[in-house]
Symmetry: C2
Subunit: 254 residues, 2 copies
Amino acid sequence: MENQRPLILVSNDDGIVAKGISELIKFLRPLGEVVVMAPDKARSGTGCALTTGEPIHYSLVRKDVGLTVYKCSGNPADCVKLAFETVLDRKPDLVVGGINHGDNSATNVHYSGTMGVVIEGCLKGVPSIGFSLCSHEPDANFTAAGPYVRDIARLVLEKGLPALTCLNVNFPDTQELKGVKICRQTKGQWTSEWENFAHRGDNHYYWLTGSFVDEDADQEDTDHWALANGYVAITPTTVDVTAYGMIDELKTWF
Amino acid sequence: MENQRPLILVSNDDGIVAKGISELIKFLRPLGEVVVMAPDKARSGTGCALTTGEPIHYSLVRKDVGLTVYKCSGNPADCVKLAFETVLDRKPDLVVGGINHGDNSATNVHYSGTMGVVIEGCLKGVPSIGFSLCSHEPDANFTAAGPYVRDIARLVLEKGLPALTCLNVNFPDTQELKGVKICRQTKGQWTSEWENFAHRGDNHYYWLTGSFVDEDADQEDTDHWALANGYVAITPTTVDVTAYGMIDELKTWF
């Protein structure tokens, strides 16, 4: 079937109605056949979480030439797993997550549902890319990101990605992008992560918040540096999390 | 405070009432002061997922000499984050997740709430270990694992772990353990992941299931090989997921 157009599976974690996924679909449609399986509501911060304690459900939202859209009651990683076994008639050529409303650089990769989509695609052996914009605004402006999204997706379709490797792409919130930087994950820690409040006399309620303390300040090879300086940050990301450098040392312990 | 006993934070993803966490607490108590902050119900397969859309709540369950137990309405990673800012009076010396009822070897590390505990501890700069047993039985037998849990925890307290590195320890479901193997993460894929059923005439309901296809069969350095051959599998695991090997290649793309 050499004349088939590339098959592109799209999902996200902000949910099917988010502007970011609509924009992503618009940017990707010229590149191939797009199938969307996205959460029916926001599932931010769910990482690679799966739904194990209850069944999930999907349904068709819209079918157009070259575009089919489904919504699903599961998490982002569930959406990818379910699409592979239900709505896709062949293995996709590309899995894309996003465009996320919010930064998924640095250690956020571990919590990101957008990257949950991408890690799942990568684990299934398909070249996979996550796109995120450093703005949580529902009406964020994705215009400048568009040509980069399309170029990066086209390059990955042409060249592929190494086994067990995916891309985490973050855009600064500006319309004047300076180009692309290839980065490593910034080291750092979230601090002051909880906002405490009382409810009906019980003061043990906490809402997640926090600020990120960068431990790699001024390191020009990090994704944070790229974003702070107006560049598109592309961080190649592995799903083989073995700490190979520690294997020999650890063998001496036993 | 050189005479303080080590402070050990414990959590899991099977929830506070699981046998595995009770056994873990029992094994660890001789090593130091144990504080438990565990989910109030099972949160299996939640990976590093955070609770972002609603507040979480914690409460004291039990206080004894050298042991304080709290339950929390959040996910495993929430539990660790919350404990650091609420119930711990100093930075812990060790964060431990488990003992999980079920295998967290191979690519399961990405979905594991047990490893969500461990990754969170590691991101906070504390030596962290996850323990899992290859049995989902509520009444699984953790007896043989006990001495290994204690020895591994003691070694990590003594020697520490490199920055950004934690341990993923899995036990085969046997009482005749052959010793320890230091491993890498087995490559492979989950397949046949969904069980379809109909509900009220709608046949788009799916429940997660699946079988793992090992792509590293007979590779003696993998965690699957160790488990299949009766060894305790210790896989050193990194939270820096940058695919360093692809950076130079990727730079040639742009």
